[in-house]
Structures are given as structure tokens and as C-alpha cells.
Symmetry: C2
Subunit: 353 residues, 2 copies
């Protein structure tokens, strides 16, 4: 083209109905810029992203510690009952920040897209991410998009990172559980995993099971305000479910757990689906639940505050921390017996998040 | 297993010589924990990662602004002359932070691994990341690993995010270039892209071209100290090369650029390889170079400081910012002519980073 052509004035409008991602969208050239401008910038609109730099420069409250986390999302299918990979990526990363008792402030998003992926689906995912991020009040301030050849990825993968701040004096960590502490679960387990598996297996239940995917930072803020330093640790039981989370905490703190099976909330339809699919709800992923370990004297107060929050309405005291140098998670079953809840050594539910 | 089995005492030792990643390594269960403990925790060893939480809680200097960035790495091949995907992921993200004039503090890493990927290669990549991170003084403080089925990814993809801090008063941004400003390039262009393409095409040159992959934050700190507020903006010309970077800046600032082709440093072997491969060095990716736009009166001082640093030894004044509402990047060629350096509209070098 010549120096006279007014090429800069043109933006090629993306065909969101029929268009597909091609290698040029990952080139760093004009097609990349079009993709960012027409899909991501609209979806995530905020003053930092709008600056169009390779990084965002952000205000930060004084006198607090920084909390940082990251997660990759490879969930299949990308769209499932109750959510999609976009909202999941926002909720999951906000939750990892919140589990430190921190206030999430900013998110980043890295997209790895397979050549041929429908632009309309990418737009829908970005829109869902943007909506989840606005609803949570935590903007996506910077991002990156790469494209790989057809057959070298599976639609789209998203890696989000998040930062937040935690006041000095609040120290939640997985190594702080002590014998005698109470163990509280914020609600029903297994919903996310069953929602994904049902859509994979094309199962229909009388009542549809929806993913519990949700941002927990509001619930956590109420919990921190109510229980403060009595809170030892919190963790969201995602991959590997409640079983993996309790085993991790047992390992980090050098303690055991004794859990009362009857106290663990499981929906009837989730229990039924798990039976059909040969799954144990204890190992099934959740994306909007948390486990809190709290000093026994604060447990009732904490439960009351959680139950007053929409995302903690079904919170339950499910057991206690016990001294156990073997670091076992033991379950008292409804038949009065007991069993060890070990980590899965294999893989029960691939690509659940 | 029974309550008596001392299962917690066991860690399955990974077979780094012959073992391969399987789906269980992404389960969130014991195999995931083994992988993290035996590959990533060793490679990245630092007090925050060692805490084993889903997030890192970090100290932060007071009275500064936060800078945040993210990048996905899908480079192919994973190992190339002068680096690999691990060191590249560290350098690239540090550089995006540094380009804001900021001091990089912490990195996160999200790994998406294809089932069947050799554990030894993953260990080598993690080791290289750890070494690059230690050399730069910027620790990987939190991470995540997901595994997808064979054929659903291509070996390993890494998304890194980074945070840093910038003193109040330093505001580098792509919209601050003004007519009359000087344009400085920190060294030879095209090395990274040519190193990757040569190893893809199995080309051998008399002198091997190595990727320039390097962390630029030390150079940047010296530049900020020397030129301070005279620095308008900096950017690292990665995907899309110098051409894409100058066009982005032209677009953001609403200006044009006039570049002197003879002043742009290109190694003879890179020029030769580009001719062989049908590439234009202006569009070829760099991973250890930066472009700085600076007020004209500070240009000589800045150049001197850059040339005193090992990563800016070959820095050159390559042109000036001009008023141009068409936002053209114009190149004065060695034949005395001129041409417009537009963005690539297609894709020249897929998966270069």
C-alpha cells in the first residue's frame, strides 16, 4: 500500500456470527488488535485495560499485604449448566484470593485459543467473564491472547491471575489448624462436578443440577469481620473436592480431621447422580463453597454470620480437628462406623475446572 | 486401605528419566501434590511457595503504585538456541512489568500440560524457569498445573503473571510520545525469531543465532534513574517485532514515526537468515530488547547509560516521533527512499513466543 492510503482509519469488523479464530489473531499485528478491541476491551471495559499498554498500573491501598494467585482453566465442556469457562475463571481466582482473608482487587487473563474456534463463542465467554468480574467488583485489568494451530489445543484455555490485599494482622494459612478447632462447610457439595459430568454424559435429571460457581469474597469479608483472628484457615474445595482439601490441610498443619458424614450437606439429586456415575461426592469439585477452620469458641458466631449470607445459607458444622500424627481424615458414617477419607491417587474427573 | 496403613509417610518418587505426565497429575489429588513437590517446589524454592497455600501473601513497599501484567507462552519448539519456554516465560513477564518503569517483585505460573509429556522435560523447563527467576531476583510465588488429554494441547503451555511497583511520579504509557521525541532501540533486532525459525527449519548457519531472551529490568532501572520524567514510554518489541510496537505506539499517542533503516541494528547472520526464510527483520520477534521514546534533550544521556549496561551495549538512536494524523510509521531506506512500515495484517511467525 502507499503512503496515501488511509489504512489506519479502518478496523475490520469481526464476524461474530460465522467468523472463526485464525492464526493471524495471535500474530501481535492488526488482527490481534482487532480481536482485543472488538471482543475483550468491550467485555472487560475499565480504565486500566482501556489504556492499551502491555501492563496495568494500579492504585493500591496503603499498609496492607499483597496476596497473589493464579489458576488455569481447561474445563470441558466450555459451557455448562450454571456457568462457563469465563465466569468460572473469574470466580475461581477471586476465591483463591478471598481464602487468604483478602480483598480481591484486580485480575489478569491469558487466553490460549485453538485456530478455528468460533469468534461468537469467544465473545460469549469474554462477555460472561466481564459480567462476572463487574458483578464481583474485580476488574480484568490486563490480558494476553495466543492462538495455536488446529488440533494443538481444545477450543480455549484461560489462565487468570489475581491480586488482592489483606490487612496486617489477618493471617490465614493452611498450617494453622489445631486440635479442637471446628470445621465449617459453607453449603452443599458436589454441584459443580455433577453439573459438568451431567452435561458430558448428556444426563437429564428431574431437577437440573447447576454449577455452584460463585465469587465468595463477600461471604469471606463478613466472616473475617465476625471471627477475625479466631479464623485459622479457609480453603475452597475445588479439584479433588472436600476430601483433597481436608487432606491438604491435615498435611500442612500436621493434624487429623474427624468429619461427621451426616452433617455434610449433599443435595438429593447430586447424591443420585453420583450413584449413577460411580462418584463419591466427597471427591467432586465445588466452585462456590469454602471450608473454614475456626477456634471452637467462635464457631457458633461464625455459623450465624455465614447463614445470614446468601452464599452461606446452608453452612454446617461438619467436624473437628483432632491430634493425629498420621494426619488422617476420618469420617464417621451414618451407620455409626468410620472410614479413612484418603486423597484420590488417580484421576476421577478430568478437566472439571 | 485401613486406618493402620502409614500412607501419609509415602511420597511416590517421580521417574524423571522415563516417566510421563498422566491425567492423575492434574487431579488435585496425591499425584498432583507429588508433581508440585518434586518438580515445581524444588525449582522455584522460596518462602512463599513453600507455604503450600493456593495463594501467596507478600510484603509490598509502601507508597508505590502496583503494576500487573500477564502473558501466555505457546512457543514451538519448547527448547531453542538460547533458551526455552521456561526462561522465556520469566523474562517476558518481567519485561512487561519493567516497561512501565516498574520494579518487578513477584511472578505466578500456570502450566497446562498435555498427557504423555515427559516428566524430565517438565523438570528441565521448571529448572530453567527457576534459574531465570533467581538470576532476576523475581521469585515465582504461586502456581497451578492442569493436565489435558493427549492431543488436546501441544506439550506444555505456560501463562505467567507478574506484579511490580512503580514510584509515584513515574508514568510511562504508550500515549505519551510527542513530535520531536527521540526513538532509541536497545540493540540488535530479530535474534529471537530467527533462533526459533532456524531450529524449526533445521537450518545451520556458520554462526548460530541465539535467542536474545533476557530480563531487562536492570537496564530499565538504570534508564529510569538517568532520564526519569523525560522518558515517555518503553515497550519490548516481541510478537510482530519493531514494526508492530511502533505502530501500536503511533496509534496510542496519535503521532507518526520516522525511522532511519540504516540506524536499526540487525546482525549480518540474522539478515541472511531472514532473506533465506523470506522474513523482514522489522516484523521478527525479540525477547530481550526495548524501544524507548524520550524527550530529545535527554536522548544522548540515556543512550550513554544504556550503552554502559550489558543488555544495552548496542543501543542506537533509530529515529524520531513526527506529527502525523495518519499515524504512519515511515522508514527512510538506505537507498534514500521511503516506505510505510505497516502492521502485519496476517501471521508471519506463528508460535514464536
Amino acid at each position: 500500500m502507499t503512503a496515501q492510503s488511509p489504512i489506519k482509519a479502518f478496523r475490520r469488523k469481526l464476524d461474530l456470527r460465522n467468523g472463526r479464530v485464525d492464526m493471524s489473531h495471535g500474530s501481535g499485528g492488526r488482527a490481534s488488535a482487532d480481536l482485543v478491541a472488538q471482543i475483550f476491551r468491550d467485555a472487560f471495559a475499565n480504565e486500566w485495560l482501556d489504556q492499551g499498554n502491555d501492563q496495568a498500573s494500579l492504585p493500591l491501598p496503603a499498609g496492607q499485604r499483597l496476596v497473589m494467585t493464579t489458576d488455569g482453566y481447561v474445563v470441558s465442556p466450555l459451557f455448562f449448566p450454571g456457568g462457563d469457562i469465563g465466569s468460572l475463571a473469574v470466580h475461581g481466582t477471586i476465591n483463591d484470593i478471598a481464602m487468604a482473608g483478602a480483598r480481591p482487587l484486580y485480575l489478569s487473563a491469558s487466553f490460549i485459543v485453538e485456530e478455528g474456534f468460533p469468534l461468537g463463542d469467544l465473545d460469549r465467554i469474554a462477555g460472561s467473564m466481564g459480567a462476572a468480574s463487574r458483578a464481583a467488583g474485580v476488574p480484568v485489568v490486563t490480558g494476553d491472547t495466543k492462538v495455536v494451530e488446529r488440533g494443538k489445543a481444545d477450543g480455549v484455555f484461560i489462565s487468570t491471575a489475581g491480586v488482592g490485599v489483606v490487612p496486617e494482622g489477618i493471617t490465614l494459612s493452611g498450617d494453622r489448624a489445631r486440635p479442637g478447632d471446628a470445621v465449617i462447610l459453607s453449603g452443599y457439595i458436589g454441584d459443580h462436578g455433577v453439573a459438568i459430568m451431567s452435561s458430558r454424559e448428556n444426563l437429564e435429571f428431574e431437577t437440573a443440577v447447576l454449577s455452584d460457581s460463585a465469587a465468595l469474597h463477600g461471604l469471606v469479608a463478613a466472616m473475617v469481620a465476625a471471627a477475625g483472628p479466631s479464623l485459622r484457615t479457609m480453603r475452597d474445595p475445588t479439584r479433588g473436592g472436600l476430601a483433597a482439601t481436608l487432606n491438604e490441610l491435615a498435611h500442612q498443619s500436621g493434624v487429623g480431621f474427624r468429619i461427621d458424614e451426616e452433617a455434610v450437606p449433599v443435595r438429593a439429586e447430586v447424591a443420585a447422580a453420583c450413584e449413577l456415575l460411580g462418584l463419591d461426592p466427597l471427591y467432586v469439585a465445588n466452585e462456590g463453597k469454602l471450608v473454614a477452620v475456626v477456634a471452637p469458641e467462635a464457631a457458633e458466631r461464625l455459623l450465624a454470620v455465614m447463614r445470614a449470607h446468601p452464599l452461606g445459607r446452608d453452612a454446617a458444622l461438619i467436624g473437628t480437628v483432632v491430634a493425629d500424627e498420621r494426619q488422617f481424615v476420618q469420617m464417621t458414617t451414618s451407620f455409626g462406623g468410620g472410614r479413612i477419607v484418603d486423597w484420590l491417587s488417580g484421576e476421577q474427573l478430568p478437566r472439571i475446572c
